[in-house]
């Protein structure tokens, strides 16, 4: 081990990386992975992805009932999805809500992450917990409380109600990803920028934001996806005139028995997967 790696923080990992090849080969012979662990690991992995695997073939099944394996190959369900105003309209609503909610969540979440980054002590820990709490609060409890309060405030069935509710549940994701981006941020840069005469706002735009942009983008994508997929609160906020795609999908299963949900499902799964790849693709070239 050279001394310069030992001086760096995270020496542990430096050692492991340096000695990985040789050590691993030795590990294998002394401490092999038994075959049954591979079997169990792969079986559980299949359980993880099983429903996702079914979604796409289902969508080409044509207008039968919900059946697997599909009897025929057809694009009928997709045609129906894109021509039926109920489906395409709810998709449009979902996209509008998700864009606005993720914008709002990203702005307030990034600001909060920056604020928390500068604060220390018990209070900041407490505030961070408060902001993260919606991640573990049961959606149904929130949905019921929000429903009754939003009824009084005339927000049920309005786009504003959806945006506010979805933005609030998107904030934790922005907070986490921006906070982790701020982890490697050098506070001396802020002082340097200020000493050169930049206003705090200009410092934010020219110094901080470019350095944390990946975290902000990741947070925005996750907030978008969270809103696009949110169903429990949306079920309570719906009105006959405004409902989102997950709500329409819920109705398709419970009330209408409409197989178009298969096309909707695979569209949502593919869209979400592509969206989640964005932060990964942006991340790669920046890696040193």
């Amino acid at each position: 081990m050279s001394t310069d790696t030992a001086l760096e923080p995270g020496t542990e990992t430096a050692y492991v990386t340096a000695g990985r090849k040789g050590r691993r080969r030795r590990d294998r012979s002394v401490d092999p992975i038994p075959w049954w662990q591979w079997v169990v690991g792969i079986a559980v992995a299949i359980y993880f992805i099983l429903p996702t695997l079914f979604v796409i073939p289902m969508s080409f099944g044509g207008n039968g009932s919900f059946q697997f394996p599909p009897k025929e190959f057809s694009l009928d369900l997709y045609v129906n999805f894109f021509s039926n105003p109920k489906w395409i309209g709810s998709l449009g609503n979902s996209l509008v809500v998700a864009v606005l909610a993720s914008l709002l969540a990203t702005v307030v979440g990034t600001a909060a992450a920056l604020g928390l980054h500068q604060l220390t002590g018990r209070l900041s820990q407490f505030l961070r917990t408060i902001l993260m709490v919606s991640m573990v609060t049961p959606a149904i409890v929130v949905a019921v409380a929000v429903y009754v309060s939003f009824l009084q405030w005339h927000l049920v069935g309005s786009i504003g109600g959806y945006v506010l509710a979805h933005a609030a549940i998107g904030v934790p994701f922005v907070l986490v990803s921006v906070t982790s981006a701020l982890g490697g941020f050098d506070a001396k840069l802020l002082r340097a920028s200020a000493s050169l005469g930049a206003t705090p706002w200009r410092t934010f735009l020219r110094v901080t934001l470019p350095l944390i942009s990946r975290g902000v983008l990741t947070g925005a994508v996750f907030a978008f996806v969270t809103s696009l997929d949110e169903v429990v609160i949306a079920l309570f906020l719906r009105s006959p005139f405004f409902q989102t795609l997950p709500v329409q999908m819920y109705t398709a299963v419970t009330v209408e028995v409409d197989p178009t949900i298969a096309a909707a499902s695979s569209l949502v799964v593919v869209t979400v997967t592509l969206l989640l790849l964005i932060p990964l693709l942006v991340r790669r070239p920046k890696r040193r």
Binding site: D31, G41, A45, I49, G115, A145, V176, V232, V269
Partner: protein, 288 residues
């Protein structure tokens, strides 16, 4: 002339937190507080709605059923999650990255798409039902019973078991096991005496987390379960939207919320779970 001095005083950092906290207050804290107030002041100051939860017979039955389902889900998630997390610590970096993506798939597969897929997989005449009949297990009703609900919920909640477990297990030095083996212990004894105690923090965190989260499930039991065997979330929804018993629903919601938060705080103390899951969920395939 003191008022025009150009020195800029840095604005307090907590101001940056105000928008996020305001959003959270509007959507989460105020509605939950209102719901709490409603539950103790309708029609006048009273604890009647809380007393009724324990005396109306229905609530306790449903609570018991919910707890049983949650325990079963937790057990399945543990039995599948522990070997999987262990397997993740053994394989090469590349395989581990793939396994981690697999873990995150249920996390980010659309709720409605996933439940719809489980419905088609498990329904009468679906692949699993056909297979079980074929191997001679008879006509098992998977959809419309607790079996389907348990299978689907375990799959969704597995990430919450695997992620804290993986973070605990990957911190264990395997050389301890080899040392135990070298000193003449059998593999099972070495595992039980050395590895298992070291992994217990992650185990407890995972168990509590999965149990807690399964208490609040709404969509899965509503779609895959039977209305005669509803879980607590459905009861809450029914009291709100059908019976319009806002005070009673508020009391029930508070009960679920308090239980959840207490359990999560406990899990968090054991394993720092909330932030860990937030970080992993937003980190994509970054490996460790």
């Amino acid at each position: 002339m003191t008022t025009t001095t150009p020195t800029r005083r840095p604005r307090p950092a907590w101001l940056l937190l105000v928008p996020a906290l305001a959003l959270l207050a509007g959507v989460l804290l105020v509605p939950l507080f209102q719901s709490f107030v409603r539950s103790i002041t309708t029609p006048t100051w009273t604890l009647e709605h809380y007393a009724r939860l324990f005396t109306d017979g229905v609530t306790l039955t449903v609570l018991g059923r919910t707890a049983t389902t949650a325990l079963l889900v937790t057990l399945i998630a543990f039995l599948l999650g522990y070997p999987y997390a262990y397997f993740m610590t053994r394989v090469s970096d590349r395989t581990r990255a793939v396994l981690l993506v697999v873990v995150l798939i249920p996390f980010w597969t659309s709720v409605m798409a996933r439940n719809f897929a489980w419905l088609t997989i498990l329904q009468r005449g679906g692949p699993v039902h056909t297979f079980l009949t074929w191997i001679g297990l008879g006509d098992i009703q998977l959809v419309g019973s607790q079996i389907g609900v348990t299978i689907a919920m375990s799959q969704v909640l597995l990430p919450f078991m695997v992620l804290p477990l993986f973070s605990a297990l990957s911190g264990i030095d395997r050389k301890l096991l080899l040392a135990a083996r070298g000193l003449g212990s059998s593999p099972l004894v070495a595992f039980w005496k050395i590895y298992w105690p070291l992994s217990r923090g992650g185990v407890v965190a995972g168990l509590i987390l999965v149990f807690t989260l399964s208490l609040g499930f709404y969509v899965t039991p509503a779609l895959l379960g039977s209305p005669q065997q509803s879980l607590i979330a459905q009861l809450l929804a029914q009291r709100t939207t059908q019976l319009l018993d806002f005070a009673g629903a508020g009391a029930l919601g508070m009960l679920v919320l308090v239980v959840t938060l207490v359990l999560v705080a406990w899990a968090n103390r054991v394993g720092g779970t909330i932030s860990a899951i937030g970080v992993v969920a937003t980190s994509g395939s970054k490996g460790r």
